[in-house]
Amino acid sequence: MTRRTLLWCAAGMGLIAYPLLVNNFWLVQIGGRTLGFGTIALSLVFLVAYGGMLSLAQMTVAGVAGYAVAYFTAPVAGVGLLLPWPLALLIALALATLAGLLIGLLAVRTLGIYTLMITLAIAMAFYFLTLQNYAIFNGYTGFSNVQPPVVAGVDFSRALPFYYLSLAIAAACYGAVRHITRTPFGLALQGVRDNPRRLRSLGYDVARVRVVAFAIAGLLAGLGGILNLWLNGSISPASVGINPVIDVLMAAVLGGFLHPIGAYVGALVFTVVDNFAINFIARERFNTLIGLVFLAVVLFSPDGITGLLRRGRIWLEEKVARLNRRRGRNAGSSSPMQSRQET
């Protein structure tokens, strides 16, 4: 347990000290994007890992929050309504939660591939709505020049404050997910995932548990969506189109569904590969390289990078234990079985 705490402290310190080591590109475009995009992926990992529900509409929910913030803080061409930013953020997050709730209501009675189909349909419907609606979404152009607020003299559009803002929000979301899974609701959700019939006979309203999970995921995705909006400074239908929708799934699959941290690991790998693939291969073929990397991860580690890390650690621990045994040390204290249980 102490080793784990130590690891977390080191990771936290590393993330806080990260700006000292890198330039603005790595700070914002890799770091900030990983944290914001990772939070959207986190909402998906939460749904899949604890609720067993695979949704493709998380980017859509993030888009709802993004569009709401843009609509209320950066009106263009007669579209939008200028409000104080705290109110705008509140409305945006409420709308994202509501969107999650509504998607949950629609999707909750389906399972597996049917949930996937329904949420994909919702995502595409929202994309075409933003593309063709001019009164609220400003059509093809969307909203540009959306700046984060300046709070108490701190301008969050600058690289360093933006990174720490992203880090704080991502850490809070991550902590919230870890906490929720240990609450009675979280345990009920995992029960619903494993055996809905048994939960129902115990008196739980299975549908309601699932809908609430969708609403929570909506709130998380909304927070990620706002960070994403501020990173890009603009939002348009392309931000909620099929590519970003699939990207979220890709990041989550890359990271793996074993552990919520997988969302951020996946987002990091996705962002780095996406940005640098073109440096290593002919410029017309770089998407092939991206595809091959993803294929390799999915092929060789179906449970993503976190699965790979976990297997690596177990393998290492077993080896160490064997080594210890061979040296005639106290072999019983760190047997492979025990270390596996610890994880």
Binding site: N23, F25, R33, G233, A238
Partner: protein, 423 residues
Amino acid sequence: MKHRSIRQFTGVAVLASALMSSTALYAQDDVIHFGGLATLEGAFAEPGADGLRGMELAFEEFGWEIDGKEIEFTSASSDGTPDVALESARRLIEQDDVDILVGPLSGSEGIRLAQYAKEQTGTTFLNGGSAAVETTLVDPAENFYRFNTDGAQWTAPLGEYLVEERGWDNIVIVSEDYSFPYAQIFGFMATYCEAGGTVSDKFFVPVGNNDYSSVIAQLPQAGGDVDGMYVVLGGSDAVNFLTQYAQMGGDLPIVGGTNAVDQTVLAARGQARQLLPGVLASGPISDNDDSEAWTTFVEAYRDHFGEEGLPSPSVFAYNYYTSTKAALTALQKVGGDLSNDHADLREALDTLELESPTGTVTINENRQATAAIYINEIVEDEEGDLTTEPLMRVESVDQFLGLGEDAYMELGLPSRDNPSCPS
């Protein structure tokens, strides 16, 4: 175990630092680092690749060096969306440390990058192929130059020509629903309505539409009170629409937007093809222009790229080439001096009179090009290929379409409903 983990850690650290500093080595005084941003994925992948060919052609012409300083070239891709364009531009500038960025390719990307240029005052931006009106009109950035004409400039001469030379005064418009076609319609109608023409109806379709039957059913018949239709569609949209229109027996005379007569459309097979010969359009280049500058450019393009390139350089190759050449010419004038936030370079650019393949290009106080525009007719050559034949060359079309800044600004910004001139 300790050794192993140290070794692993070292490996990871080396890899990470290699990534982070992959191009920091280039940040030397005797190197000028160019970035090229174009769409190498999605619907505009072919135009994007051709744009970068244009850039390479310009570097080739200058022997990849300015005053003994070597030219370093890094390219990046976007998929045509502002988000991805911004991401790639940030990588080029903040990570790869490019001095001069040429790009992006499409309208909305350009609007976004012109805003981003204001944050990056140490970099000089030259537009690639993007042709939205707003980029250099609304609060233009000091360090964003567009040596290409915009979508409205491309079509402005055509409106007047139709009324005065062809006697058309009533048309319908079929167009894609986004910023670049708005600009094209805007430029066209500015002179067309002024000359006395009317537009009885506009039909907007989403980009990537496959079924045009509902629009075609609403179009008037030939021989009625409408003289023809103005088709502002590009790529596969244009091919699909024209094919379905021909299949349904449509016979209205057609004039096309700049992208509707692009080689990507002209090279298409099938029924769309039979409607194309005789179609009028206007744009910054003409395939069959016989001026020496243009034929030299086409020769150089064919020599250098051969089978790999298009049969004739596209408008994107031309635009990227012109912008890159503008930067190189200005750099040569100041001996490659980039000190003091490119002060000398920008002064040279501001006053540059560039000899482009279509004649002299100058820029105005918004750093927007004034250049010649061609009115083209689509013709079939002896090999059966469709090309554009120049009917007329209009000299010095400026950003304000010859209306003067005040009158032009009064027109407002292009949108679905602006401008409108119903009968």
